[in-house]
């Protein structure tokens, strides 16, 4: 698969938590480049820094050191206000526990990112129809989150992440709260979205099955990149086996994930 354009470029990203005297360095200088149209999985044992990396890259948290370019913008130098606007316009998010607003219907939830009215209503409506069809949740438009299943909630969350045509979608353990059937169905959909619409996705997961849907998997260990695997033309099964092998070498909690 040929990639041309860099969507995300992280250089020497470091992140420490804690106060003076009791500092824990979680990310110890990560360099990562994500190309347009990639579906990148981030794996690693608990505490390896997966979620911290995602948060930092997704502008939800700030780096201690290093620079992150998304498209042309250096997000490590932006002010909070600019970051908010950037997130709203350029990024999409899928969370483990969906983070849907209980008081809004499926459609209203999906349209939230464009709710400041910068997108014309007709354009937003078209966009909604396309994405809802793609994710198979068109019929649920007027339902409230408490009326639908977990898989449907996560699809809604995914639709919300896609509505503003983001340059990149970040997913934090999107299948973590789903049963295996809903999980594979959702991952299949994400794969389709990635392939057909060319949406760049970065997904944090500890589940090798989930990461086997990706085009590339990055392994973290103790705050550093340990290794990377490209799927290339391999089947998902073969890729899955490869992932398992690396995970075996990495050790830790890989076995209980199966």
């Amino acid at each position: 698969m040929e990639q041309y354009k860099t969507v995300l470029h992280a250089q020497n990203v470091r992140k420490s938590f804690g106060t003076r005297g009791n500092v824990v360095q979680v990310l110890k200088g990560i360099d990562l480049r994500v190309m347009e149209g990639e579906f990148v999985g981030i794996m690693g044992a608990s505490g390896a820094g997966k979620t911290t990396l995602l948060n930092v890259l997704a502008t939800i948290d700030r780096t201690t050191e290093g620079s992150i370019l998304i498209g042309e913008s250096d997000i490590s130098k932006m002010k909070d206000r600019e970051l908010s606007a950037f997130r709203r316009d350029q990024l999409g998010f899928i969370f483990q526990d969906y983070n849907l607003l209980d008081t809004l219907t499926v459609k209203e939830n999906i349209l939230l990112p464009v709710s400041l009215g910068k997108m014309k209503k007709r354009v937003a409506e078209d966009q909604f129809n396309t994405i809802a069809n793609l994710l198979g949740i068109k019929e649920l438009a007027d339902k409230y989150p408490h009326e639908i299943s977990g898989g449907q909630k996560q699809r809604t969350s995914a639709a919300r992440a896609l509505i503003n045509k983001p340059s990149m979608v970040f997913a934090d353990e999107p299948t973590g709260a789903l049963d295996s059937k809903s999980a594979s169905s959702l991952l299949g959909t994400l794969e389709d979205v990635n392939k057909q619409r060319g949406v760049t996705i970065m997904m944090v997961t500890h589940d090798p099955v989930a990461s086997s849907y990706c085009s590339r998997v990055v392994f973290l260990k103790d705050g550093n990149i340990y290794s990377e695997l490209y799927r290339g033309d391999k089947t998902r099964q073969a890729f899955f086996q490869e992932i398992l092998k690396v995970q075996g070498v990495l050790g830790g909690d890989s076995v209980d994930a199966l």
């Binding site: 709203r88 998010f93 209980d102 999906i110 990112p113 709710s115 400041l116 438009a141």
Partner: protein
């Protein structure tokens, strides 16, 4: 670890949740204690006499009710917020009775603390309230506030009862809830259902209709069915308000939302949607708050208007400072003695004889007055010229016509269509007189004032010539009006008058002493109304604040999500402010509207225009109320900022 250790630990950890309940408790104790102190204060008791004491008692009972309801309500919100913690205790193996014991020990400690602090603050501030009260009733002397053990005992007893009540409430709460329910309590809330089209539309319109009907009827209550009309107005307005919150607003919101077809926008997502979500649960409290606000506003505006117009009202009933001549020779002696004393003390005064013809007559047309009092009247005919001489500013009526004065029936006669005809008659003669205007107040002091017809001087003599002969001479009364020129000497003159009368019991009818006694009773009234109003206001404001605080906590996750999606605090706050405008604004607005109509309906009690004092009272109320809205928005801002 003993249960008691657990109590101390949980209290220390929960201080954030407690302080709300704690302040609610302290606040109730302070107000109740201040009230009890005033009630028992010797200088108040001494100056108040029977009527004041009774007013204090009634207000005290009312206050007790409000304080009780307020504390129980705050406690229930507090319990709900802690439901997860209560569930956790049960999960780790504490029995229900142990949890209940834990809560009750906490509650007792907390309440005892609040009681002690509250009484302490109460002792400090009760002096301020006493000074205020004395100022309002027009007493300037030195006031010594004594520490009242009786007030302390009374407060302690009352709040012990309230502690018992809240403990029972906790027992019931713990007993009734299941583990599962406890964990879900914070998530509870209904989900807006599609309203049944016809039924909802009907009820929605019915709500508005009932309020409208109440307003309409409130302007037309003045007939012998007054009492039933009042009940009907109250009933339809309260029911209408309930329907408004329960159905009408949800229905309107639903229509708006449906119309948006999913394109809700951020502002509506943060105002309309959560409001709809909680409308069913909030309808009761919003209705109660609206009705309470309306009641308080009416009470405040009414009391302040009474206080404000005391001087004018008294003057319109007692147009002359002193009046003699009504009680024959004995009165003349007093008058002589009085004027002599005024002369001696060099108090200058205006002395005017006023001659009055007392005639029988009847209304020739149906008027409001005839409906209430029958068609016969006995009228005092007074000449405009003599009134002018006595310093009363009266217009001069045309020949053959008369101006109608009677302070006691002015409230129902002021809306009368003029002119109307009355017939004056004696055994021999009769005469039709046209009443061309109904004027405010009296021209002769009570108790001599009945229906007074003021006529042109020439016409007066014509009437006198027509009716009065030797036989009818008794119909002439000769009054003497005494008016003190320098206003500052009125008090001295009044004292002289009372010295001469020297009868503690008999009612006196001089302007100044009436003014003082009215001032005292309206001063007390405004004090009590203000005090209760403040309690109502702070209770309703706090309840809204508490409720919104809970909602803010519940929605914290939504705010975090929104911020992660890229909305900044400013964007989110805009939607939240809109919600608060609704939550605080609508009850206030409807409460104001209710009270405006109530005041209008009650304005018959006032001769003077009360637009100004009523507006001032309402304005102050709205301003303090606004303070709570600002506090709430502040709390939300803090919540949104910390949510990420």
């Amino acid at each position: 670890m003993t249960l008691f250790d657990l109590v101390i630990r949980s209290m220390r950890k929960n201080i954030k949740h407690y302080y709300l309940y704690f302040f609610a408790l302290i606040f109730s104790v302070v107000l109740y204690f201040v009230f009890a102190t005033l009630q028992h204060d010797p200088s108040v008791v001494e100056r108040s006499g029977g009527s004041m004491g009774a007013a204090f008692k009634v207000a005290g009972i009312l206050l007790l009710f409000i304080a009780g309801i307020f504390v129980v309500y705050a406690n229930s919100i507090f319990l709900k917020r802690r439901s997860r913690e209560i569930g956790l205790y049960q999960l780790i193996g504490l029995t229900k009775s142990a949890v209940a014991r834990l809560l009750i020990i906490e509650n007792t400690l907390l309440s005892a603390g609040a009681l002690a602090i509250g009484i302490g603050i109460g002792i400090l501030v009760s002096r301020v309230f006493l000074l205020l009260l004395m100022k309002l009733v027009g007493f300037d002397g030195f006031i010594e506030l004594t520490f009242s053990m009786a007030a302390v005992t009374q407060t302690v007893i009352v709040f012990l009862a309230i502690i018992m009540l809240t403990s029972i409430q906790m027992l019931i709460a713990v007993r009734r809830t299941t583990l599962l329910g406890l964990f879900n309590a914070e998530k509870q809330g209904e989900h807006p259902k599609k309203p049944k089209a016809f039924r909802s539309a009907f009820l929605a319109l019915l709500g508005i209709g009932l309020i409208g009907f109440g307003y309409w009827l409130s302007g037309r209550m003045m007939n012998p069915l007054l009492f039933f009309n009042m009940l009907a107005v109250l009933g339809s307005t309260i029911l209408g308000t309930y329907l408004l919150f329960r159905v009408t607003i949800s229905w309107l919101f639903y229509q708006v939302r449906k119309h948006k077809q999913g394109h809700l926008g951020l502002n509506n997502s943060l105002s309309l949607a959560p409001l709809m979500h909680r409308m069913k649960g909030n309808a009761n409290s919003l209705t109660i708050i609206t009705v309470l606000s309306a009641m308080t506003l009416t009470m405040l505006a009414g009391a302040y208007s009474l206080y404000y117009s005391t001087e004018k009202e008294t003057r319109s009933i007692y147009p002359h400072d002193f009046m003699f001549g009504g009680y024959g020779e004995q009165d003349e002696a007093i008058e002589k003695q009085f004027t002599d004393e005024l002369d001696r003390q060099r108090i200058s005064y205006l002395y005017t004889p006023i001659e009055v013809l007392n005639l029988e007559g009847k209304f020739l047309e149906e008027t409001t007055s005839t409906k209430w009092l029958g068609e016969n009247l006995s009228a005092s005919i007074v000449s405009e010229k003599q009134l002018q001489q006595a310093g009363i500013d009266v217009e001069i009526p045309d020949m053959q016509s008369a101006y109608f004065y009677d302070a006691s029936v002015y409230w129902m006669m002021k809306t009368e269509d003029v002119p109307f005809e009355v017939e004056l008659k004696t055994a021999q003669n009769e005469l039709d007189v046209t009443v061309s205007k109904v004027r405010e107040g009296n021209v002769i002091n009570l108790p001599f004032a009945g229906t007074q017809l003021v006529v042109n001087d020439a016409f007066y003599h014509e009437i006198k010539a027509l009716f009065i002969n030797e036989e009818e001479a008794y119909r002439i009364s000769n009054f003497k009006a005494v008016t003190i020129v320098d206003k500052n000497q009125q008090a001295t003159a009044s004292a002289i008058y009372h010295d001469i009368l020297d009868n503690g019991d008999r009612l006196t009818f001089d302007y100044y002493s009436q003014y003082i006694s009215t001032m005292q009773s309206t001063g007390l009234l405004i004090f009590i109304a203000g005090f209760l109003g403040l309690v109502f206001l702070i209770s309703t404001g706090s309840i809204l604040y508490f409720k919104q605080m809970t909602e803010a906590e519940q929605e914290k996750r939504s705010y975090a999500t929104l911020r992660q999606l890229g909305f900044n605090v400013h964007d989110i706050m805009r939607g939240i402010v809109r919600k608060q405008v609704f939550v605080f604004g609508v009850p206030l607005l409807i409460g104001l509207l209710h009270s405006i109509f109530a005041i209008k309906a009650a304005s018959f009690m006032f001769m003077s225009d009360i637009t100004l004092p009523a507006s001032i009272a309402m304005g102050i109320y709205a301003l303090i109320y606004l303070g709570f809205a600002i506090l709430t928005v502040g709390y939300y801002r803090k919540t949104v900022k910390s949510a990420f």
